[in-house]
Homo-oligomer: 486 residues x 2
């Protein structure tokens, strides 16, 4: 393997001097993404401006056997864009043009560095927007959203990034430029988009992204409901969904999260609430009016002590302010915290929340719960103080135990933040060896050298040289007698 | 390669005598699927009843290098289940249990042989149904739907099979049994479901399918609108979609299709119409009422000469009767016909229909148009008489020219019937060599021996032994100087 720094001269010829960074001080500004607990200084950073330049960098890496990692805005929370110490970090944030705003066909084609919210701003005057809305939407890039299959509060109704991407231009780990999908969905042949979206940079780098634009809703209605505890708030969530109402968003915060938000932004949530729900409906006016009344009724029937309906956009913004600032607000009540991301079936929410509370009581580690309740996507904030010896380690344990709870209830180790560098070790808790091996067949097909964001997603890289096929002895049916397969 | 017949003894031990067919006469009943123009008698047919039996058959094939083809009900229209003369046909129609009807989580787990409509019948008493509705839904199997990513009239609003499958149990071409996805969407790791659904049996055989169940709509409203010509009917389609209304279905039939349907089933469509539209809306009552009025108004504004609104289920069924019988009805006005399946952007419908009419006039080959107008998914019926020398060959030419028209307008060579044996030769008209090669990386990863439904989808099988990577000289950037990549 050539040292990545050895490629600097060659890449300067292709990208220009200013777009190749080798200065140690400047390299350090890229040492982590939004998950700051992992830090690695990359050997080299490049700032390409075109697909051709990205392909040229990847081809240089492939020829030299040098690993590379793609990075957009660097806001990810699983360390998916964590650099490789001996590799090239390919930063796409300078590729930020909206190339085509095709309103008639409800599509946009964008470069990977385009900021999520900027796309919606461009589409809004035409009556459209880009639906997936991560909390970081003011700064996160579409390319990063594609890599991590990002979600957001309104993905309950509208789906995740994968449901809004209809085409990708991809630079493969060999440096080929290929087109997968396009403006129309469901093209003939293999639909590789699903595998590419959410592959966290391990199958190549998206250089153009074709996305659906969603029509701006005619009406939006939002309520804030206070409950004595999370059990009753959870019951309201289940009742609303069971009634066939699909809100745009249902968000829950527990007492500790409310306390933090109040301390930070004075959002004026009902005092003394054990839990609050924000329920937002959007769509055709007639529909929203009818279903919103139903949602309000179900909150009260489930034990809400107070229900406030947003009278206007200003009041709606106030409801959301507490929710959106909750992660950062936790800093007001704790010096350190871990943002966890797990999923449980919606119906298991009350049990899992009770188990988390028990875990917290048993360990003395405080846990604030802020989450996308409609999806069952938990974001427990596990609080700790580094000044207390051993507390951060205990917080890590609690955080891991929460994932085990999610799996025990039929859930998942990540809802929307991705596996990245952080959760690769948890993958075997969710998938057996054959399932992981099958995924890695695809990894090896695209990236036989394992140079495209290595060390992410998979705990144990598959040896790509081996002949794909059945592994003797590992298969549950391998030793099965004839009687067992009848 | 061992002769497939040589496996008969071994497979009888595993499956039992009755489930292995070698009798020539009985083998011939499997010689084609719904596309009867291709006929191949398989060497061997097996009727497995469990996942273990399917895996055992596939392992036997893999060990011997014998090709295999999976078949459900055999209703496909692209020859996707066309047998291999030297291979084993694995018929899954005896695996037809609904294993789990999980109403609370809105999911069902079914065996691949379950008939599409049977699943809806089981879910209906609980207020749910399975949304994708191919015209063959009374007889086609869910396994076949998964293989071909089947569509249907109501897929405009609800999406294709791929949007309703959340998990698969798959027997890989090596005979491994793996689980991909589950009841929850968007699991960590690669989402391989998209690639598997619609892979037409080339990546393995689904032995269990987890699907979404959709809540039965509160209200359904249907109208039939007559227009002087397809131009004005097409304008109505565009106007309805542009107004933000998403009907459950918008179907169009032209004059020749109406004539055929009238001759066959006396559906009583407005006499003298140059085109009819069936527009169906479903959803919450308040929403449907509001939007249906808008759709009706837009039909009239676009030049409808008559608009009928279905007063009850009986009248709605009558509207649909003409549409659903149209393919078969064409037999009343022509001894032979080809069912084509192409897609164009909705906005290009009027031009493409005019070009098809011109093509018909130039060649003397009649073309009846019946299609999912909302999706731009054309089903031209190209009529011919085998008794007229050369006419069937000219019909084939016209049918192919229609696909070229679709591509020329930014469309696709298949909307919902798949590529199968029939359209593999058209794939290079839609995809360039690098794009097809990238798809085949996945094929080779799963099926390095090319034994899983070989000869389908891809016109030229990739040589799986070659090292995946960039092909010198084939890439547009390979010879590009530095100046070109800036």
């Amino acid at each position: 393997m050539v040292d990545a720094r050895g490629l600097a001269g060659q890449l300067r010829t292709v990208l220009g001097d200013a777009a190749v960074i080798t200065d140690r001080q400047r390299l350090r500004t890229y040492e982590c993404d939004g998950l700051a607990q992992y830090k690695v200084t990359p050997a080299l950073v490049v700032l390409p401006r075109t697909t051709g330049q990205v392909a040229a960098v990847v081809r240089a890496c492939a020829a030299a056997g040098v690993p590379f990692v793609a990075r957009g805005s660097g806001t990810g929370l699983s360390g998916g864009a964590l650099p490789h110490a001996d590799g090239v970090l390919i930063v796409t944030s300078t590729m930020r043009s909206v190339l085509d705003l095709d309103i008639v066909n409800q599509r946009a084609v964008v470069e990977p560095g385009v900021i999520n919210l900027h796309l919606s701003r461009e589409a809004l005057p035409h009556g459209y927007y880009y639906a997936p809305d991560p909390s970081s939407q003011q700064v996160c890039s579409i390319g990063g959203n594609v890599a991590e299959n990002s979600g957001g509060a309104h993905c309950l109704k509208y789906g995740f990034t994968t449901n809004h991407v209809t085409g990708l231009e991809l630079v493969t780990p060999a440096g080929d430029v290929v087109q997968v999908g396009g403006k129309a969905p469901d093209a003939p042949g293999y639909d590789l988009l699903g595998a590419l979206v959410g592959s966290e940079g391990t199958l190549g780098i998206a250089t153009k992204v074709t996305v659906r634009l969603t029509r701006s809703p005619e009406a939006v209605s939002t309520l804030l409901a206070a409950f004595p505890d999370t059990d009753r708030a959870g019951a309201a969530v289940s009742a609303i969904i069971a009634a066939g109402v699909v809100p745009a968003a249902i968000e829950m915060m527990d007492a500790l999260a409310i306390e933090a938000a109040e301390a930070a932004v004075h959002c004026g949530y009902p005092p003394g609430a054990g839990a609050v729900l924000i329920v937002e409906l959007d769509g055709p006016g007639a529909d929203v009016e009818h279903e919103f009344a139903e949602a309000e009724r179900l909150c009260r029937a489930s034990g809400a002590t107070e229900v406030r309906v947003a009278a206007d956009d200003a009041e709606r913004a106030l409801f959301w302010k507490g929710r959106k600032s909750a992660f950062a607000a936790v800093g007001r009540i704790s010096p350190g915290y871990i943002v966890q991301d797990g999923v449980v079936p919606r119906t298991a929410l009350p049990q899992v929340l009770r188990r988390i509370a028990q875990l917290s009581a048993d360990t003395g580690i405080r846990v604030a719960n802020v989450f996308h309740a409609g999806d069952g996507n938990l974001h427990p904030l596990v609080l700790f103080d580094d000044a207390v010896p051993g507390e951060s380690a205990r917080a890590e344990e609690v955080s891991g135990a929460i994932l085990d709870l999610c799996l025990e209830h039929g859930g998942s180790i990540t809802g929307e933040h991705g596996v990245g560098a952080d959760k690769a070790r948890y993958m075997p808790r969710m998938f057996d060896a054959d399932d992981l091996d099958t995924m890695q067949l695809v990894r090896c097909a695209f990236d036989p050298q394992s140079i495209s964001n290595p060390g992410k997603v998979f705990p144990t890289p598959r040896l790509c040289g081996e002949r794909p096929g059945r592994h003797q002895g590992t298969h549950p049916l391998a030793e099965a007698g004839v009687a067992e397969v009848f």
